[in-house]
């Protein structure tokens, strides 16, 4: 049987130090983290900053297309980037359940290191706690990110204007369905992989070439529908979207109809929504198409002042219906 994480590893004593040097520094090490001071000494940051934090508690820990570690890096990198910022530094804190296999932890940390490298960010400070069995479910990770805002003015959910168009960078719902189909108790196979990926390089290109981007958001938990509702409310505009323009993979549609779920509410971890004046749309699409992460980008709707605060879906048949925010989580249906 392989080694397991013991309560000792979170004690702050020698065992903790061994864990830090033999595991965390091995995969995450860099000049700043290696100092192992109480706080990270940051340079190269000036001008307006963006900061974001998120905790990752995903079940299952490993899913097609990623794991909790890579997700914890991509998620926070993307959140920082959505302000039109260049994410630079991350902190990361682990809360680990006693008894977790060392191998599992190692795989998670290794993929965090890789994800950080790909995103071009440094993990500069961190923390590890080990809690008694049962106190958490295997492992929770919190990451906080900080980055320099490049766009001026910074995109924001408050800035959507009537006449703008709504673009998504690719297919919706992949992450949510990948997770669900691997959750215990759900008996269906799917080949859908999570889209978990760092979007900061794409965002940088977008905001550098198109200064007039009004909104950038990544439709994570709650999916496209929830995020558009937030934007519609923040900006007091209507978002009208066209069902047959929204890219959704066949497998995702199939899985959703099996479970009685709506793909527009499923989480995405590597897609963004971009709202900008119509005359800039082609340019944005061109930039996206030149990026491997946004090959299936599409204009999916437009902003108007008709019903402020609402998201309306025009269906393939030309009918209209509200696309409201969900109350609570989506739950698979009885029959």
């Amino acid at each position: 049987m392989g080694k397991k994480v013991l309560l000792d590893y979170g004690s702050g004593g020698k065992a903790s130090q061994r864990l830090i040097s033999e595991l965390f520094l091995k995969y995450l090490g860099n000049e700043r983290l290696n100092r192992l001071d109480d706080a990270a000494f940051l340079t190269n940051l000036d001008g307006p900053l963006a900061m974001s934090t998120d905790s990752y508690t995903v079940d299952p820990l490993f899913f097609p297309g990623g794991n909790i570690g890579s997700l914890a890096v991509h998620g926070t990198v993307n959140d920082v980037a959505m302000l039109g910022a260049r994410p630079m530094f991350l902190s990361c804190a682990f809360i680990i359940e006693e008894g977790l296999e060392m191998e599992v932890l190692e795989e998670i940390v290794a993929s965090m290191g890789e994800a950080a490298k790909k995103s071009g960010v440094e993990i500069v400070t961190g923390d590890t706690k080990v809690v008694p069995k049962g106190a958490v479910d295997k492992i929770f990770i919190n990451t906080t990110g900080i980055g320099q805002i490049v766009a001026n003015p910074a995109p924001s959910g408050h800035r959507a204007k009537p006449g703008d168009v709504i673009i998504v960078s690719g297919s919706m719902g992949d992450h949510g369905l990948a997770i669900l189909s691997h959750r215990q108790g759900i008996a269906f196979d799917s080949n859908v992989e999570s889209d978990s990926a760092p979007l900061n390089h794409l965002v940088l290109k977008l905001v550098q070439e198109i200064p007039d981007i009004h909104v950038l958001r990544d439709p994570t938990r709650g999916g496209l529908a929830t995020t558009l509702n937030e934007i519609a409310q923040q900006s007091q505009v209507e978002c009208l979207i066209f069902e047959d323009k929204i890219p959704i993979r066949e497998e995702v549609k199939g899985g959703c109809s099996f479970l009685g779920l709506d793909p527009l509410y499923l989480a995405n971890e590597g897609k963004l929504i971009c709202i900008l004046p119509e005359n800039q749309a082609e340019k944005a699409l061109e930039i996206m198409r030149s990026d491997p992460l946004a090959q299936e980008c599409a204009i999916i709707g437009q902003v108007s002042d008709e019903r402020p605060g609402k998201v309306v879906l025009e269906t393939g048949l030309g009918g209209h219906r509200l696309l409201d925010m969900l109350e609570g989580e989506q739950l698979p249906r009885i029959c």
């Binding site: 108790g185 008996a187 309306v312 269906t315 393939g316 048949l317 009918g319 219906r321 739950l331 249906r333």
Partner: protein, 362 residues
């Protein structure tokens, strides 16, 4: 293009829609009796493009919505038992009980509740927790009953003695009968439930046409399915005839699924049961029969179905019977919303109040 795309094809749909427009002269009131139809009609935007003369009513088609207040009270009481683990489909988690408490609240207070995706998963929970009593909340129509019956057969064969079912299953045809016998409800056509029909087939609906002269069509859930079914009913009405037709042959055999019915028969017996908003409908529910008595949670936990006063102001019953539209209920969007649902029609994803709230563009 696969089959499903074809059934969503806007051109084909528009053709049928144009025929409906051409052939409807007076009002035509049809009712669907399946929550999945309700949602499909709203989600596809069909409701907003059907001619005004086609009046669409949502019937008692959502298993959560028709679960009687007493039954909700009973399973909430069960949640308080320390030795019980409840296994349930997710839909039931937010249905408010008599004192507004729901399973989510019970869970936060310490009740052990597992959301499962099938009855077999519930059985697995029982096998993994031999020291506890695991109760599966058996709510649903003919669609869910066979798998639950099959699960019970396995439990019996394997001698698993810590698994129970609270059987509040309901049968669709007796409810349809109760509806058409109510003189105030004037339904001129029934969109029959695709899923339930895969099990029971055509036969049990025939009384609608034969005794009550009402056309009824078993329909799939794609927009084209539904539009075709409406057109078929409308034509029959215009020709003063009534038939029960299977327009969902790709999934439903006319004779249904005899094997599934046989498993149901082995495990269940038909009993009188309560329907929310409707009351007792004779011979419209399924209880566990003598051979399966020991799996019956009602008996194992000595549960009685308490008398519960209906919620003041809630018109769920009338909504389920198609007597009022959800937005005609005085509580709709006021005291009652998905955030604080008063009745189950607002909780269930397939409930008609929730569908009106969620999808209707004003």
């Amino acid at each position: 293009m696969n089959l499903h795309d074809g059934l969503k094809d806007p051109k084909l749909c528009r053709n049928v829609l144009r025929q409906i427009e051409a052939e409807v002269d007076e009002q035509f009131r049809f009712m669907e009796v399946c929550g999945t139809h309700t949602v499909a009609i709203f989600q596809s935007g069909l409701r907003s493009i059907l001619p005004d003369k086609i009046i669409h009513l949502s019937g008692p088609g959502c298993p959560v919505c028709v679960t009687h207040e007493r039954e909700v009270a009973a399973y909430l009481e069960l949640a308080e038992k320390e030795d019980a683990i409840i296994a349930t489909f997710g839909d039931l988690m937010r249905v408010p009980g008599p004192d507004k408490k729901n399973l989510k609240d019970a869970q936060a207070e310490g009740a052990r509740i597992k959301v499962v995706y099938s009855a077999f998963d519930a059985l697995k929970v029982a096998m993994e927790n031999p020291q506890d009593k695991v109760v599966f909340l058996g709510i649903g129509f003919e669609t869910t009953a066979p798998t639950i019956a099959a699960t019970l057969k396995v439990a019996k064969e394997q001698g698993i003695n810590n698994f129970y079912v609270l059987s509040f299953h309901k049968l669709v045809p007796p409810a349809l009968k109760a509806l058409v016998q109510d003189k105030e409800i004037k339904v001129e056509g029934f969109l029959l439930p695709g899923h339930v029909s895969t099990i029971i087939g055509l036969e049990p609906y025939k009384f609608l046409a034969q005794e009550y002269n009402i056309p009824a069509v078993i329909s799939g859930f794609e927009p084209l399915d539904i539009l075709q079914a409406i057109l078929m009913m409308l034509r029959q009405k215009n020709n003063h005839e009534a038939k029960v037709t299977n327009n969902y042959k790709r999934a439903v055999a006319d004779i249904g699924n005899p094997k599934a019915r046989q498993v149901m028969d082995e495990v269940f017996e038909v009993v009188d049961t309560f329907w929310r908003g409707i009351g007792v409908i004779p011979q419209s529910g399924l209880g566990l029969n003598r051979d399966y008595e020991r799996f019956d949670a009602l008996k194992a936990f000595n549960l009685t179905l308490p008398d519960v006063a209906p919620i003041a102001g809630c018109r769920c019953g009338d909504v389920l019977k198609g007597k009022v539209r959800p937005d005609e209920c005085p509580l709709f969007k006021k005291a009652c919303s998905p955030a604080s649902p008063v009745g189950p029609c607002m909780v269930s994803t397939e409930g008609s109040c929730a569908a009106y709230f969620k999808y209707m563009v004003e």
